[in-house]
């Protein structure tokens, strides 16, 4: 587990497959809660997975694919804007989370080597990167949803309300569900494997 291990073909494949697994979990979680996952006021529990983008390099692509498939297979599809817009928002947010999470992953790597509580990443190092899925989705999805669903031009309060509702639901999904999940997964070998190449 030395620092700067060369990346092998298997690591590359592992990133790909881990992304695929995350996409599958996103898809399943979205459809298990499909009653509240789609629509004007939505609460996507699966967006909790966005928190994992801080740790796993395959997550941004995986979340993009998962969201794309979920919106595409949604029987009540809202059209191309939602299919592409929603998944691009999720993917970009996850990419940003991953980029912002560098210092977090570095300190996590240090912690895995020393196993001293003092080396554990500070909570703030997790909280800040996790804000990106909340903010980006509220901005992107919150703005276009009223336009698609209402058809005609919605009024400003409607748009603001929709942004607020997405903001709140994303914040709950990411911080109340995603964060505990992340904390639990930090103890697993998969997390150690994921930060192996961080430098």
């Amino acid at each position: 587990m030395a620092r700067g291990n060369p990346k092998t073909e298997r690591d590359r494949l592992l990133t790909l497959v881990q992304g695929a697994v995350l996409a599958a979990i996103y898809l399943v979680a979205t459809f298990l809660t499909s009653a509240i996952s789609f629509g004007m006021v939505q609460f996507r529990i699966s967006e909790a997975l966005a928190a994992l983008a801080i740790l796993f390099p395959g997550a941004p692509a995986g979340l993009f694919v998962g969201c794309l498939l979920a919106n595409l297979l949604n029987p009540a599809s809202l059209g191309i804007v939602d299919i592409l817009g929603g998944s691009i928002a999720t993917g970009v947010a996850a990419l940003l989370t991953y980029r912002l999470g560098r210092s977090y992953r570095r300190s996590l790597q240090k912690y895995y080597q020393s196993r001293e509580a003092a080396d554990r990443p500070a909570m703030i190092a997790r909280l800040i990167p996790l804000a990106s899925p909340v903010i980006i989705n509220a901005l992107v999805v919150g703005i276009y949803l009223p336009f698609i669903i209402q058809g005609t031009e919605p009024t400003l309060p409607v748009v603001l309300l929709s942004m607020l509702s997405i903001f709140i639901s994303q914040a709950i999904a990411v911080y109340a569900l995603g964060l505990p999940l992340l904390l639990a997964l930090e103890r697993t070998p998969a997390a150690q494997q994921a930060v192996k190449h961080e430098e």
Partner: protein, 273 residues
């Protein structure tokens, strides 16, 4: 878990729609969404309704099954109708408190509701109901392939999509098992407040993640052992060419686009009242 039957609920039948190339179907579904959203004139919407009914007939799917795809969005349809009905444009026929109901509002609301219904039916007809998810992943790959020139890893995305779809049933089975295992240890998923429920969810998600990441590792090893190198040197089992079916669908789409873009503005406005 009955809602999961929605996922990839492809209805197997031998129809022209089923046999069509998946990337053409994907393209057609996207084009139809745009066309339906652009249809404003009642006559055009009537035409689109008849066309949709014909497409359902062509797909050989039971009518009730197609209608079921509207159910999850029924709330939105009713909501749109009410919003328009209460918008108060035109002459008021009844009013209470701050709401004014007008005939014009009701008609606009009904047309909007019809538009959303058509949108949903057409999409599910082309995508979910007649195309298996793996074929859909294939279609997405072919449609995205021009992005290859921009160094977008199209093939890896498609691979990710196929693996994800393949993992879905496995994950469900695993989640079921875990739920039973945690229940037998005293966990409960339907009682308690929201926080308790979320905690219960975490108690399934964590082991689910661990087991699926283990599976992911196995799969990566297996892929490496079989010399998977991405796109290079990979061949396809089904490289179907376009036939008259696809061409006639594309022609229909072009005609419809012309109809909403060119003919629609020239139609006489219907005065309802």
């Amino acid at each position: 878990m009955s809602s999961l039957s929605l996922l990839g609920r492809t209805f197997v039948a031998d129809s022209q729609l089923h046999r069509m190339n998946s990337s053409v179907k994907l393209l057609a579904a996207i084009a139809l969404m745009v066309i339906v959203l652009l249809s404003q004139h009642p006559l055009i919407l009537l035409f689109m309704t008849i066309l949709t009914l014909l497409l359902i007939k062509l797909s050989k799917l039971p009518f009730s099954l197609v209608l079921k795809s509207v159910r999850p969005i029924l709330f939105i349809i009713i909501f749109a109708f009410i919003i328009h009905g209460l918008s108060g444009q035109g002459e008021t026929i009844a009013s209470f408190w701050i709401f004014r109901i007008s005939l014009e509002g009701i008609v606009t609301g009904a047309l909007t509701a019809l538009r959303i219904t058509l949108l949903v039916i057409n999409t599910s007809l082309f995508l979910t109901l007649t195309t298996p998810p793996t074929a859909l992943a294939d279609g997405v790959e072919r449609l995205l392939s021009p992005l290859r020139h921009l160094r977008f890893p199209v093939n890896e995305f498609a691979m990710m999509m196929s693996i994800a779809l393949r993992f879905v049933p496995t994950l469900l089975e695993e989640a079921n098992k875990l739920m039973k295992a945690q229940s037998s240890r005293g966990a409960s998923y339907d009682t308690g407040g929201l926080i308790k429920k979320v905690r219960g969810l975490v108690s399934i998600l964590v082991p689910l993640f661990i087991s699926s990441f283990r599976r992911a590792e196995d799969l990566a090893v297996a892929m490496e052992a079989r010399c998977y190198q991405g796109e290079a040197g990979r061949t396809r089992r089904s490289g179907r060419k376009l036939t008259w079916r696809e061409y006639s669908l594309l022609a229909l789409i072009v005609i419809l686009l012309l109809l909403v873009a060119v003919v629609q503005p020239r139609l006489p406005q219907i005065i309802w009242f």
